[in-house]
Symmetry: C2
Subunit: 427 residues, 2 copies
């Protein structure tokens, strides 16, 4: 018989309710199998739980009450927020030599160093499988399977909301704001979706993956971040014509001993596995020296997959299996986005007259940029004199691309700021 | 500092060499990081290792010598074979209360029950991540991540050799035997490829996955197995025209509390993730109650990914993390293939004359089979009077399909035995 593990759950929102459902499902099969007892629950909401199942559980309205509560082995923090009460109860638990399980990516990302120091000092462990890609055990895979490999790069679709929006814009041919509203109605986007669509949520997750994969400290400010709120349907469609999907990609890689981390929407060849991760799914690719390319796909968020992650951390801790957070051996430098060497998709809106292409290509030449493909569409149906020109380029420096576009956007035949989206070859 | 872990390696073939490379790569980074010592190596071949790295290692020509050797914590068995010396040294190690890591799927599958009993009796653990899908940590994922979920079904492409053959037949438009020879030349198929192409290797792996996913005993004889040695290029091409890929699929699922396990080549909608697992890659999908669909893809075999799996077992054991093999709670019945309810791809070779379709459809009707699509190709270029008719059906019982085909193949206008391949919808 396994030893009893007492857990204190702070926060019963989507994930918290999923965790409680998972513990009690099938007549409490998981509760019995893993010998779990919920010794406390802190929740502002009324609990959907039978009296019978709560007989050994102390109920608190305010999570801060857990500061003066000791009768647990593992604190399960599911409130969220990078500071405030979450931080207080987590730090308090570590200092009490308790273990902690959390789904809080913002907090783990922001306080990475402090958490590590505290855990080592008090011999506690903090686990956060649920913080990145709910239904994919990527933290476990990096910590326990690929630990012997040198990671070359790790990249993925890390935000389900923005992936749902991009997928549905294309499949229904509707624009960003319409699909965002639909996503909110269906519960795939929050009422304030800022962090999802501006890339910050994906960046929090990437900073955690990067820290584990490359043995560095998590640092959100080192990540170049662009979101999808400016994304237009027309570019998703052109990309499809060209054999690409546009995805909000997060990538962390080592280049010449520098770290290069970014989150931005980009074109990806539709034959890449990651390009076919659609809807609310997340997908992660790890490239390593001994395993080449490993690909993992699962539901990115939602109550149940995330609860599975939280629960796996709980039972792994109760199995006495901890992976200490270690101090990184060397500080790596961070590479600026202007040093990116890659290809680009460009959409020019110009007057329809001779000399346009040559004007553009002159600026390209000056900046060592060469075209790979060109597609011209006259907007005849609208009887306008505008032309749309879609260009893809060979690899060039982002710095040079910026210089060229600054000049091009000032040319008298260019009617709108040029749309530029990075192409990731992932070869 | 981690405690020293002493390992004894039995067998230095492809995987054994990969493991040694992994331990000593980057100036012995993994050896130091995880504090590993190779206290013995048993190998018939000459070792590619410097004297310096072997200074603390006893070398044996014959693996049986390990029976009278005690100076190790973990036996790493990489010889293969379901009985003989592998079995002897593994059982001996368990009885010495040592831990065991193996890549031997045939042995684990055949001796599942005995291994479990012995490990419990002697309080040892045996780990076998490398036995299934080298570069995918599927055993860890099932045992440590999805353990709280009810698995509905698990399926995948589990044999890299046959997947390489099917992928390359289609991409190069060459027939089975040509591609098999190419695969042997490139080292993707062994000189005796029987177990790979007749489905037995995939079945060994499936029996292990099934045992873990459904908490039953592994049993190869309960699995319906068909291989790919009869596969013709023309069917791969027709399937592509119809929007499918043909893959050697292994699946284990629960239906009405019965287990239904099979390995056979079948058509899969090209939009399914698993259909795009090409070449030597393996892919596995797990469908569960709380995580829906999780998909994992990685190199299926080969020295390095398999060595990564072996090494992850070693460090997980040395971290005191063991998952005891438990006795299953209830015996589940096994479902016969004749009870399969699904759709079929059929290729008829007939005389080209009126009445053929009606003759076939009469037999279909008698057996409650209905057609979904039909494609007729006259083999005009060959100036023969043969016709090829490709039919897909709606779902029906395999028992009924067999009855119908027995009759159809005897009809006077049917010139060859009808080719029948199952279609898996994976919805």
């Amino acid at each position: 018989m396994k030893n009893l593990t007492k857990i204190a759950i702070a926060g019963v929102g989507t994930v918290g309710q999923g965790l409680i459902d998972l513990i009690f499902k099938d007549n409490g099969r998981n509760k019995k199998k893993f010998n779990i007892e919920i010794s406390a629950i802190a929740s502002r909401r009324k609990l959907k739980l039978s009296k019978k199942n709560l007989s050994n559980t102390k109920i608190f309205k305010d999570a801060s009450s857990l500061l003066s509560f000791d009768d647990y082995d593992i604190l399960v923090e599911l409130i969220g927020g990078e500071d405030g009460v979450s931080k207080n109860i987590i730090f308090d638990a570590i200092k009490k030599k308790k273990n902690v399980v959390t789904a809080n990516k913002a907090l783990v990302s922001k306080h990475w160093k402090k958490i590590k120091t505290l855990c080592n000092q008090y011999d506690s462990s903090l686990k956060f499988e649920a913080a990145v890609a709910g239904g994919i055990p990527i933290i476990k895979i990096l910590n326990e399977f690929l630990k012997s490999n040198n990671i070359k790069r790790i990249y993925g679709i890390l935000n389900g909301t923005s992936n749902y929006i991009l997928t549905n814009m294309l499949s229904t041919k509707k624009n960003f704001s319409e699909i965002l509203q639909k996503a909110q109605k269906l519960g795939y986007a929050e009422s304030d979706p800022t962090f999802d669509i501006n890339g910050i949520d994906a960046a929090h997750k990437l900073s955690i993956l990067s820290a584990i994969a490359f043995d560095i400290d998590a640092n959100l400010s080192d990540i170049f971040v662009e979101g999808i709120s400016e994304m237009e349907l027309i570019d998703l469609m052109y990309a499809e014509t060209l054999g690409y999907k546009i995805k909000l990609l997060g990538m962390s890689q080592i280049k010449n001993n520098n770290i290069f981390n970014f989150v931005y929407p980009c074109l990806i060849d539709f034959r890449e596995s990651i390009a076919n991760v659609d809807g609310v799914y997340n997908g992660i690719v790890v490239e390593s020296d001994f395993c080449n390319k490993s690909f993992f796909q699962g539901e990115g968020a939602g109550s149940n997959p995330t609860a599975t992650s939280v629960f796996s951390d709980i039972i792994n801790i109760s199995n006495n299996h901890s992976n200490k957070l270690r101090n990184p051996k060397e500080k790596k430098k961070n590479q600026d986005i202007s040093e990116r060497f890659g290809s680009y998709y460009l959409r020019f809106t110009t007057i329809d007259k001779p000399g346009v292409i040559s004007g553009i290509s002159q600026e390209f030449k000056k900046n060592k940029i060469s075209m790979k493909s060109m597609l011209q569409k006259d907007n005849k149906p609208e009887k306008s004199k505008n032309a749309t020109i879609v260009v893809t380029t060979h690899n060039c420096l982002e710095r040079n691309m910026k210089k060229a576009l600054k000049k091009i956007n000032k040319l008298n035949f260019v009617l709108k700021n040029t749309v530029v989206i990075r192409i990731e070859s992932l070869k």
